[in-house]
């Protein structure tokens, strides 16, 4: 990569000493991307965009926020009523957090469907799960900051999860609280960490991308690109395709912010925190509900906590549970059925997590929890051995070319590779 390719003398001067323009150029033009990516591959960029939106709106919110039990609720109300555009900035922060999780959940299920966690992308996948964990911690602490009823009781219940740890549990909870209950010291440290963690996430995202660029993107048919005829440059092809997704994403976010800003929130969080009274029905934010359902499905405290963390732990070892050499579900007829069952199971858990823990809901939660673990720990290892997969195409270009030749389809004709 030589600096001569830049016309602008300032750019050339800088690039000679600090080759950041070369690096950007390298990503844009030289980084080969499989040419058959579908819209499911938009969600990585959308996750990055969400993180940027969260950081920008968050820093602005912090300028008017006060992390003190006597002032926090008022400060947020002041942001909503008096600070210029404060209501909009807060609603963007609130709703973009939900959108961030929607995007990341789709991103994760994309990876599950197309086998993107398989060799050689195991570390890339694991870094993704790390980001997911950090996001959950960040969102949890952010939700405490407005110091409403749900903030307080959410914080109480979640921090108490650690009291299930034998022997040291109670000391850990006291350490987290900085006192004998969730109180001012807790709010202070949560604000400090809520500010920090998004930047830690940004750091792990960099590692995620370095790992991605080692072997490039997976693709819908899950076989490696066999040469330049199977790839195109990121810019302008995928920058344009990503723009379409970004436009749709921003449109939906704007609809949520301006027309349904509280639809994904809980009305009880507009009641100031009261340490003496638990709301009748406490639920976490919607994006935690599947895990909350697993927690409540177990009638034992430690058991519930272990299973809940176990639900994420299985994702870390997934690359070694599913040993099938075929990546994409397109060529795995049985896996594909179980994939959809898992998706239904996850949605069902989310629904059950929001229902009271009684009667039929408990029974269903137990079945759904059992199925979740069965899927990862039993079904996937068995499928890797017993499933007969469909024959894989010889190259990424092959299925497209053979289709356009046989059917002479006008659509396929446009996809001829520019060799």
């Amino acid at each position: 990569m030589s600096a001569e390719k830049f016309q602008n003398p300032v750019v050339r001067w800088i690039d000679h000493r600090l080759p950041i323009f070369s690096m950007l150029d390298h990503e844009k033009y030289d980084y080969p991307v499989p040419k058959n990516l579908n819209y499911m591959w938009n969600f990585g960029v959308l996750a990055g965009l969400s993180l940027a939106i969260m950081i920008i709106t968050g820093i602005v919110l912090a300028m008017s926020y006060t992390a003190h039990v006597d002032y926090a609720f008022e400060a947020v109300e002041r942001i909503m009523r008096d600070v210029n555009h404060g209501w909009m900035i807060r609603y963007i922060h609130m709703n973009a957090a939900s959108f961030f999780f929607i995007v990341v959940y789709i991103h994760i299920f994309r990876g599950l469907y197309y086998g993107s966690y398989k060799a050689p992308r195991e570390l890339l996948w694991i870094l993704g799960v790390v980001i997911f964990l950090l996001m959950m911690a960040t969102a949890f602490m952010g939700y405490v900051l407005p110091w409403g009823q749900m903030s307080f009781w959410g914080a109480t219940v979640i921090t108490n999860l650690f009291s299930a740890i034998p022997v040291v549990g109670d000391s850990i909870v006291t350490l987290l609280w900085g006192g004998f209950s969730v109180d001012n010291p807790t709010l202070n440290r949560f604000f400090s960490l809520h500010y920090l963690m998004p930047f830690v996430i940004a750091g792990v995202v960099v590692l995620h991308i370095i790992a991605l660029h080692r072997f490039g993107s997976n693709n819908p048919i899950g076989i490696d690109a066999s040469g330049p005829q199977d790839t195109i440059s990121f810019h302008p092809y995928y920058t344009m395709k990503d723009m379409v997704g970004i436009a749709v994403f921003l449109l939906l976010l704007a609809i949520a912010v301006f027309f349904f800003p509280n639809a994904m929130g809980h009305p009880d969080n507009y009641i100031p925190a009261n340490p003496l009274q638990t709301p009748a029905h406490i639920v976490p934010e919607w994006y935690f509900l599947p895990f909350y359902a697993i927690l409540r499905a177990v009638p034992d405290k430690l058991g519930g906590v272990l299973l809940m963390f176990g639900a994420i732990a299985v994702l870390f070892v997934l690359p070694w549970l599913d040993r099938s050499p075929v990546r994409s579900a397109r060529f795995r007829p049985l896996f594909r059925i179980f994939f959809w069952l898992l998706l239904i199971d996850a949605v069902a858990l989310g629904y059950l997590g929001g229902k009271p823990a009684e009667g039929i809901y408990v029974v269903l939660s137990r079945i759904a929890t059992a199925w979740y673990f069965l899927h990862f720990l039993v079904i996937l290892p068995l499928l890797s051995v017993f499933e007969t997969t469909k024959p894989l195409p010889k190259s990424i270009s092959e299925p497209v070319l053979s289709r356009s030749k046989s059917a002479n389809a006008p659509l396929g004709a446009g996809l001829e590779p520019a060799e």
């Binding site: 219940v157 350490l175 006192g179 004998f180 340490p275 003496l276 638990t278």
Partner: protein, 186 residues
């Protein structure tokens, strides 16, 4: 010069006992590790309760105003404390319970200094919600004591766990009767 070359030259000039070299390296790393841990500890321990938080005062409560069958909630160390003036029937049921029915066996006598007044930390031992049952008309659960709505724990008239995910009985805070009607909690 590449790293391996350096090693070779030094090794040829001064043949050393590899065991000794390893020992120095391990000892140095161990010292650095200890130093790092010593620096990290204050940074972690600062999160524990500060001196003023620990010094939170005791509270004194006049219990003579509580009518039989009624309860009050007071705040102690940021947490609710339940004080219930129990009825004869509630006391009788609490003391008649068979120990083998209890998940966390404790006799009622051991939990209430004076049987009339039951003093409890009003924090569910599952995940810390405040159980219902203090106000008249609130659900009290299947054992007529307290009911935690968060994940469905039932406590009896002695505050002992009977059903649901909570592992232990409602905690009895340290308290003393200063007179017949005033107790000090803490």
């Amino acid at each position: 010069m590449a790293k391996s070359d350096i090693k070779k030259t030094t090794a040829s000039k001064r043949p050393e006992d590899p065991g000794r070299r390893d020992f120095i390296v391990i000892a140095t790393n161990a010292m650095a590790g200890l130093g790092a841990a010593a620096v990290a500890w204050p940074l972690i321990d600062q999160m524990n309760p500060a001196a003023d938080t620990l010094a939170l005062a005791n509270i004194e409560v006049d219990v003579s105003k509580i009518a039989e069958g009624q309860s009050i909630t007071v705040k102690w160390r940021g947490k609710p404390v339940f004080i219930r003036h129990r009825t004869e029937d509630e006391i009788a049921r609490a003391s008649a319970t068979d120990m083998s029915d209890l998940r966390d066996p404790e006799s009622d006598q051991a939990r209430a200094e004076k049987a009339d007044y039951l003093v409890l930390v009003g924090v569910c031992t599952h995940l810390g919600c405040v159980p219902l049952g203090q106000k008249t008309g609130e659900v009290r659960g299947e054992y007529d004591g307290w009911f935690c709505p968060c994940h469905g724990s039932h406590y009896d008239t002695s505050g002992r766990i009977r059903k649901g995910p909570a592992p232990t009985n409602l905690e009895v805070p340290p308290y003393t009767f200063l007179s017949d009607s005033v107790i000090r909690i803490g």
